[in-house]
């Protein structure tokens, strides 16, 4: 009986957490628009949410002033066939009580299609 209660709690908690994580991913996607990472030919400027085909949060750290995500991305420009897999470090700072994106660092990139 205890086992069933525990299992149910885990499933319900996970089910409740999913929308929260999706909302966090959507917020990240929206915040990335206008940001630039990398340089020269290995550079991505996020021009629209549509370019981000996939965003998975791999890690998150936070203190009172700074929040840092490591995210895995799949990126594709609307006017190009090529698709890229990238990993990025997204740093936020707390300004006036609100989290604001500070900069995005490109950790790795690979053409996948």
């Amino acid at each position: 009986m205890k086992f069933i209660t525990l299992l149910t709690t885990i499933v319900v908690a996970g089910w409740l957490a999913l929308p929260a994580q999706a909302a966090e991913s959507d917020q990240l996607k929206s915040d990335l628009v206008g940001q630039c990472m990398g340089g020269r030919e290995k550079c991505w400027k996020f021009q629209s949410v549509d370019q981000i085909k996939e965003l998975v949060i791999k890690n998150k750290t936070e203190d009172a002033r700074k929040r840092v995500y490591t995210v895995a991305l799949q990126l594709q420009a609307s006017n190009a066939n090529a698709k890229y897999a990238a990993e990025a470090r997204v740093e936020y700072t707390k300004t006036g009580g609100a989290w604001k994106i500070k900069q995005v660092g490109l950790l790795s990139m690979k053409k996948i299609e």
């Binding site: 340089g39 030919e41 996020f46 900069q103 995005v104 660092g105 950790l107 790795s108």
Partner: protein, 389 residues
């Protein structure tokens, strides 16, 4: 009579003033009309541009040069250098280009710090999956701020991807991997001056930045931690922005003013030939910058002598693909400051301007052939004109 003199004198003065050649900043100097803040940014950026990195400051472990100035040095800071880089990518016809980021491409670093050399690694290797490799000479960066400020629509207005006018010259904009119009680099695969500079630190010097906070790999393998003693990022965003201010405010090369009347006549004849041979279709003499909050960049003419578009240049010059550029396509080289260069073409393999012209092919074949049959005097005239820009 007196009344005529009264009117005539100011008129004559006005005419003389109108004929006076506009003052130009000397080579290596900043644009006119910078505010004191902008002058300070130019000077701060100049310092970063000259900063010599050592391994303890972040150099390497793989690199091509230890400072911006090492390659951009002749005849003054911001000019050319004698270094030749190696690039490699993978092209699959008809249109697929892989920059081989995951295998160390497209810039294949040619030098290593002592810590990496101690492990037996002296440089990066051409990735086995590369289908092409290329050599690249150092471009001068004079006037790049003005080039950066030319509106995208101006570039696109010169496109003729289907050769609608039937002159054999096409021209299309390259697009960066994220889909924007490119303009910097020999294949126009970089959209902005900031991105051009930000990428130079990790790719040329092995110096990490907040935008690229991890080291470039060694052909896809992470660098051994013991060879990379400096904490990342190895420079600040302010450094990257200051270097960008230095290159943004660096004035274009001044036009060469000829004093000898025979030379003036020859150059004027050469200018006409430059147009009649249709060199000017791709090497567009002048473009105008768009509106800018920076007075010295706002709506200025820049004599870049390029359309910043891709043109097929024939099989002999073909090397690598980059973004949407095919191996045989190159961005029209900017000719401003041509007289300060010592070697020519994208790889520095032409020893003279004439050799570079004679090696044009593809879309430039008709112009090249017309040049080849010019009289010696007309060839001299065209080359004299090119010495003035």
């Amino acid at each position: 009579m007196n009344a005529k003199r009264v009117v005539g004198a100011p008129l004559l003065a006005l005419l003389l003033w109108g004929c006076k050649t506009p003052k130009q900043p000397a080579l290596g100097e900043p644009l006119f009309d910078l505010t004191s803040d902008q002058q300070a940014q130019f000077l701060a950026g100049k310092k970063v541009f000259q900063r010599v990195f050592e391994p303890k400051d972040g150099l390497g472990p793989l690199f091509n040069g230890n400072s911006c100035a090492e390659c951009h040095e002749t005849p003054v800071l911001g000019g050319v250098g004698d270094e030749v880089e190696v690039h490699a990518t993978r092209f699959s016809a008809p249109n697929d280009c892989d920059p081989l980021f995951h295998e160390g491409g497209p810039v294949i670093q040619q030098d290593a710090t002592p810590l990496l050399r101690a492990l037996g690694i002296e440089k990066e290797q051409i990735p086995p999956s590369a289908t092409g490799q290329a050599h690249r000479s150092t471009p001068p960066v004079f006037g790049f701020g003005l080039v950066d400020a030319i509106p995208e629509r101006t570039l696109l207005s010169h496109e003729d991807p289907h050769d609608a006018n039937g002159d054999g010259i096409y021209g299309r904009a390259n697009r960066t991997i994220d889909g924007r119009v490119g303009r910097f680099g020999r294949k126009a695969a970089v959209a902005t001056l900031l991105e051009f500079n930000a990428g130079a630190f990790p790719q040329e010097m092995g110096v990490t930045t907040p935008l690229s906070p991890v080291e470039e790999t060694i052909n896809g393998k992470p660098v051994p931690p013991e060879t990379d003693p400096a904490p990342d990022p190895e420079i600040t965003m302010e450094d990257v922005e200051n270097v960008t201010s230095f290159t943004r405010f660096l004035a274009p090369p001044p036009q060469q003013l000829l004093t000898n009347s025979a030379d003036k006549y020859l150059a004027a004849r050469g200018k006409k030939l430059f147009a009649s041979l249709k060199c000017a279709v791709c090497h567009v003499p002048v473009m105008k910058t768009g509106p800018s909050a920076i007075k010295s960049i706002h709506c200025k003419q820049v004599a870049l002598y390029s359309d910043l578009l891709l043109h097929a240049m024939g099989a002999e010059l073909a090397d690598i693909c980059l973004a949407q550029a095919h191996p045989s396509e190159f961005r029209t080289e900017m000719l401003m400051g041509l007289r300060f260069r010592e070697k020519f073409l994208h790889d520095g393999s032409a020893k003279t301007v004439q050799e570079a012209i004679e090696r044009h092919d593809g879309e430039a074949r008709r112009s090249r052939d017309k040049f080849k049959v010019l009289s010696e005097r007309d060839k001299k005239a065209l080359l004299k004109f090119l010495e003035t820009i």
